[in-house]
Subunit: 207 residues, 2 copies
DNA sequence: AAGTTAATTGAACAGTGTTCATTAGGTTGA
DNA sequence: TCAACCTAATGAACACTGTTCAATTAACTT
């Protein structure tokens, strides 16, 4: 067959990504293969290469969607609460998302191209995620320099990410299901308290 | 050839692991293959399967060695300093180790068996790493319940791990080379300050 | 109806992990 | 000394993988 034009390029791409995600959810990242995706959408292997540069490209595009979903989930958290609670809600949502889409989450952070870094647009999406945290921190510490807010956001969120990762890989072995959330709560509370404490001292010294 | 007995099983295993590590360091985890390892040590593919259950097993054994090296590095940090400084030194050493052995470090945390968890002995090694942190925290907060120390150690070290991972994957994009260390310092200082703060409050309330 | 075009194919190639019947070097016993 | 045995070591075979690209053929044009 040739020139079927059953689907546009965009449709083909969407079908492939969707099929790949299903495969990923059901069988994990190791099971992702071009032949399986192709046969799942009723096209041949070669057709995938009309729409994706290679399997790596397909993975990055899945990652982009995963990251979009994650960002959306975080954004859906109620804004009608104090920044500190919202940060905790973010962390919780982050943990839940990783739990619900464990294979997608694993692909997002495990997958690394042989050569070169993640694509730019992916990096921008991650930056946007950090941005959410920065907003809350800026609200909590309006007198802080922007650079310090940026550093704090990355520190705090790096921490949440690390806890999530260890949890996902069963390398926490402590305290059952609720442990991870207790840890992110503890992290956020103590980090913010420690920060306030330092600010108070600074003020005290200045005056 | 057969029955050469040039090397014992133990020697063969050591040769294979060592060759695999070299391959890993030079070409990354994706380049690790049974045929390459076999040819590097002058044996055939089949011989590897006399010593390792499969490639996964070989990877786990590399990971064990990586984790041992990491633990040793941390243990070499001077004990002749206050617990807080030692914790920072640990975090620093952790970052340095990940930087120096980036491919080994990536294999350690990316590699996940298709089915089932990491082997038990690996989990014990990780627990031992957490133990180092617990010692310092217990020294800092002698009145804290052991369970709280355990949780805090995992929280803090999960955070350091997360920062390290984002750094390694270039997903921090902030502040150049020194950023990661500034972040772990910030994390440890603020977390400990926040903890002390909370303890003071608790004491104040009680009295 | 014949010609043109390009969407789609799938065989081919080079690689992968894993298995296991075969082989050949070392050891043993006569 | 030499045949018998044993077993460490092999590497061909199998079923997979990603990727390419000449060949095919359905649909459009004339």
């Amino acid at each position: 067959m040739a020139r079927r034009s059953d689907h546009t390029r965009e449709e083909l791409q969407e079908m492939a990504l969707s099929a790949a995600e299903t495969l990923l959810d059901e069988q994990g990242g190791a099971a992702l293969s071009t032949r399986k995706v192709a046969s799942a959408i009723g096209y041949s292997v070669g057709s995938l290469y009309l729409v994706f540069k290679n399997l790596d490209d397909l993975c990055w595009q899945i990652n982009a969607r995963t990251l979009d979903g994650l960002t959306q989930t975080l954004e859906q958290q109620s804004t009608d609460q104090p920044p500190r609670d919202r940060l905790k809600a973010y962390a919780n949502a982050y943990l839940d998302y990783a739990r619900e889409w464990s294979h997608r989450w694993a692909l997002l952070f495990d997958h690394s191209t042989d050569e070169g870094d993640a694509p730019e647009w992916l990096q921008e999406k991650i930056a946007a995620l950090f941005g959410l945290v920065e907003i809350d921190l800026a609200e909590l510490y309006p007198n802080e320099k922007p650079e310090d807010i940026t550093l704090a956001a990355r520190t705090l969120w790096g921490g949440v990410h690390g806890i999530t990762q260890l949890k996902m890989r069963d390398k926490l072995f402590f305290g059952g299901d609720s442990a991870a959330q207790r840890m992110t709560d503890s992290l956020i509370d103590r980090y913010l308290d420690g920060w306030s404490h330092a600010e108070d001292n600074a003020k005290g010294d200045a005056e």
